[in-house]
Symmetry: C3
Subunit: 474 residues, 3 copies
Amino acid sequence: MAWSTNLRWRLPLACLLLQVALVILFGFFVRYSPDADAHWWEEKRRRNITTDLENEFYYRYPSFQDVHVMVFVGFGFLMTFLQRYSFSAVGFNFLLAAFGIQWALLVQGWFHFFEDGYILLGVENLINADFCVASVCVAFGALLGKVSPLQLLIMTLFQVTLFSVNEYILLNVLEVKDAGGSMTIHTFGAYFGLTVTRILYRRNLEQSKEKQSSSYSSDLFAMIGTLFLWMYWPSFNSAVSYHGDSQHRAALNTYCSLAASVLAAVAMSSALNKKGKLDMVHIQNATLAGGVGVGTAAEMMLMPYGSLIVGFICGIISTLGFVYLTPFLESHLRIQDTCGIHNLHGIPGIIGAIVGAVTAASASPEVYGQEGLVHSFDFQGIKENWSVRTQAKFQIFGLLVSLGMALVGGIIVGFILRLPIWGQASDENCFEDSIYWEVPEEKSTVYIPEDPSLKPSAPSIPLAPLVHLVPLTP
Amino acid sequence: MAWSTNLRWRLPLACLLLQVALVILFGFFVRYSPDADAHWWEEKRRRNITTDLENEFYYRYPSFQDVHVMVFVGFGFLMTFLQRYSFSAVGFNFLLAAFGIQWALLVQGWFHFFEDGYILLGVENLINADFCVASVCVAFGALLGKVSPLQLLIMTLFQVTLFSVNEYILLNVLEVKDAGGSMTIHTFGAYFGLTVTRILYRRNLEQSKEKQSSSYSSDLFAMIGTLFLWMYWPSFNSAVSYHGDSQHRAALNTYCSLAASVLAAVAMSSALNKKGKLDMVHIQNATLAGGVGVGTAAEMMLMPYGSLIVGFICGIISTLGFVYLTPFLESHLRIQDTCGIHNLHGIPGIIGAIVGAVTAASASPEVYGQEGLVHSFDFQGIKENWSVRTQAKFQIFGLLVSLGMALVGGIIVGFILRLPIWGQASDENCFEDSIYWEVPEEKSTVYIPEDPSLKPSAPSIPLAPLVHLVPLTP
Amino acid sequence: MAWSTNLRWRLPLACLLLQVALVILFGFFVRYSPDADAHWWEEKRRRNITTDLENEFYYRYPSFQDVHVMVFVGFGFLMTFLQRYSFSAVGFNFLLAAFGIQWALLVQGWFHFFEDGYILLGVENLINADFCVASVCVAFGALLGKVSPLQLLIMTLFQVTLFSVNEYILLNVLEVKDAGGSMTIHTFGAYFGLTVTRILYRRNLEQSKEKQSSSYSSDLFAMIGTLFLWMYWPSFNSAVSYHGDSQHRAALNTYCSLAASVLAAVAMSSALNKKGKLDMVHIQNATLAGGVGVGTAAEMMLMPYGSLIVGFICGIISTLGFVYLTPFLESHLRIQDTCGIHNLHGIPGIIGAIVGAVTAASASPEVYGQEGLVHSFDFQGIKENWSVRTQAKFQIFGLLVSLGMALVGGIIVGFILRLPIWGQASDENCFEDSIYWEVPEEKSTVYIPEDPSLKPSAPSIPLAPLVHLVPLTP
């Protein structure tokens, strides 16, 4: 590949056109929900509530902010682990997410918040948009270092749409429960991303292999991402659960599951290293697998020990995946998965879907209370005659649909992204910021003595003669 | 300038005197608000409320914490982008903000929370103090690298006072709406800082020009600041809005506006670079312009598409400012604006004020509902006969007053700071931590082989011959 | 010491066994609290509440998340300041905290949340578990760089247990007030850790002395920890206070105290340096002392000026401790306190306990209101006849018990950790990540010209001759 990576006109045009289109569509379609509209006074009378606290804002806003941090700092910094690609990791994630949330507000709005010709905007829409974009961030993890920002915008455009269709089928047609998105976000995002990276297979990627490693400080930056994901995941899995016990329980279960993942990841990381040393890749990723694994069941009566078991198993399998499966996928299936999303989102996502189905199947009036059971699984209206086994069956259908949508969608989008017009880098320039960014030159050489601060940095010019000098010496 | 930069007595004395003065003033003036006082039981009876949830704490505390993060981590890390000045950026910001919030609690308290001889302290005071200090952080951005911590303390002392006077005039005399502070915080802070930096013009600053650049890791640290500012800005603009729909709407509008700014900043950054590459300065700053731009109108019925338009325009203009205006200001007007606050806070602040006036002018009972309109703009009591056009007119007065206060205040404070007694550095030592900080020496040379960890690390192989070479040269 | 540091079997086995034990114990003992159980519908009827907002989740969850960030990012990153030990700092903190919170949920649960044979889990348990683990993180600070992850797990196992016993004695037997844990968390954690490090005294630690320093970027990473601790400390001290005014007041007092600590720390840091320069160690640590110092009294009517005084004094004493006491402890008492926890948690913890006792002793119905006084100090039931002086006396007993438990517990645990089976490093390998971690090798040499990014850094000395060499080559 020797296509031009100069995006001077293509990227600005794409951004500007997309943004103008969004403005127009927002103008036609998006208004405030009753809780955010100045007519709130009438709404309060209508709903017969006396306190502003019943505004949805106060139930959900703190969770929203945590989710927001996960998408931008969590995913953004988690991917900075590559030594020469940190600008792109955090910057492209910023770009795709900022575009994606706007587009998701529209597409999800048409599906879920459409009334009298308008999408009604409130804090719940924001959370859902962040969720949708999280699945794009997941897919980005597989492609990290190999795609241009333009490709990411195109992918986001399609993936957000497909995500919303899939989500609609699961939540509104199949009536599936999936609070934290094991299926809709993680499974879908992961297999979509893996399919795309398979289509975009790069034969000569070993030319840039040495850039695929981390540096000491890039690993620390990545830990910022890991920790914010880990800490706020209880908010993620509970953010759109029903008020009260569901939201509370989802947070508790996720907290437990994540804690168990950490011990599992540390154990396996050490056990699989011949000197017993820990590997930062595992600590950065497999510690999070428990959050994915309880994504569906978190709001159910999974029980704290159930959460621990799920987190424990996911942590183990995820670490095993990084050690054995990722190399296998690359060498045998030509799936180049930069961040190992298959281990963090793919397999744990499927586990999460199955755990959700099993937990649903074993729900009973004894455990939930009769009212609790009906409320938790919406066994009313069209679902009035559903049994928990019906629910479980549909949960599994939801998983299969998500996988199907991911594969088909991924193939289509993959081929679109293969077109040689998006400014993608050649194989030897992958994982390299300087293709798309002005990267600061370190000219601090002269200052080394007085300047103990900023990493010495060998001068580029003086070193060149060095190489020539060597043969000259007798 | 060859004045002493040794602050051994001056800085400690200033800190201790200021802190002792604060203790005394707090002792005389500051008590708890009814919501934070142990007499809350009586207050609940008096206000006839049955639940502790009606305590202001639960309405505002999560937003307060987000704002707090913006001031300390947001501004602090955003300014770490300079390669040799990161300690000072985050450390001096910490110092000035910690002093500033205490002083702001007093001065704002006298203006806004004074009852029966006491300032009554509650969570809203904390938010307002953080807001006030945010305007000092903005001004610090223009001066970054060129002033001593002592100068910053002096500036904070004056700027907090001026801010509070200006805020009082705007909110209580002109009855202006300015929820997120486009005028009070951003416009005032920016033009105050720009005026000060103009007065402190340094003729020979190009001597330290090479230190004004960033390094790879300093740019990443700065992105931490950018992202926390970006993510929490919806909390900032909604933190002191009225309960219920206003707070909710302010968050939604800010979220939309910020998202649009990102695409605008990326588009312009790429379009203005001859190779189409992105510039970290724009991504770190212009992406935030939308938050400033909706600072006044966020709580109004700006409409989601209106927010997108504002964010989009601010992102474009801000990036253009970094490319064309900042160099012009420096070369023609002798305004050395280190962080480009004119582009992030100055122009977007003015835009925000105008957007606020226009949005107010176009408010109508149809859009707000009669009660909503009265409530949103406080059209009762002394404002009972105001029309929306009156409101708009006063909004513009508010902008003009803010600009005037900033210029006059900036000139006075600028001349005070020019006195040669504050330990400021000489021109060639600007942007250099080691003037004011013990900076760790990197002696990792000897350890390179066993220590793959920290820093780079000169190559072990090429270096080996070098050592042998030395004796060989005659 | 030349014991094997290869943890390949020991660490995984320990993690897996502990996690399996936790799963089993959770299975037997842990269920959901009524607020998190699907029977919440019945609970609402029983408690006669009509809104989900009265679920404890909405009172405490935002504070919980802030505390959670403090434990994982706050403590984790604060300890990354060592130039070669950042992986271990953030990674081992992650491991011990993830284990510790699970174990704390059990042990604290048996003491405080045990009903009908089950521990009932809710958001308050999570906060308490994080609190408990915070005391382990404090102790870890003294041991940083000198212990293996296995030792940390063992220490956590014991310390969590001892913490919970001590906490039970203080809160339930002595009926002490200690909202932010000046005694239970800080004093106990610090003196426990100091005792352990005394027992583990390493004679030849100066062999690794040069690794005990920081680097420019490690100091910046540490500032992330400092700032998140500093910003969220008001949430920490108020997280488990009574609803309403107590929680509100605790946040206000902590905010004030912390602000005063910053000025005190800066003043002393500059005054104690012969060139008046600031020392990052002080800024990273002593600025936080005010949060510890108001840990007991924060929820009392300490008054804002009282908080300022406490923060001011703690900041001064803490900085003095870093400069004079830490070297003394090491050279004379053989206490090697890596992070200086004695200055940040030890002394300020004791101060906090005394401040709490004094504030309790001076409580009066005039200041609190009769109901407020009874409510604030629980002067009902078995405490019905207590005077404020009785309360104060018991507060002091609480401090003494905490100190006693810390010393005795520390001695026992110290000797257990001295067993030569835990994979601890030899003295010359202390403060070195590569013993326990795969550390990325920087092979960036070849790429220097095209790769301005990752700070290559040639050694300063070898380069000097290079410059002379160049002209010499023909």
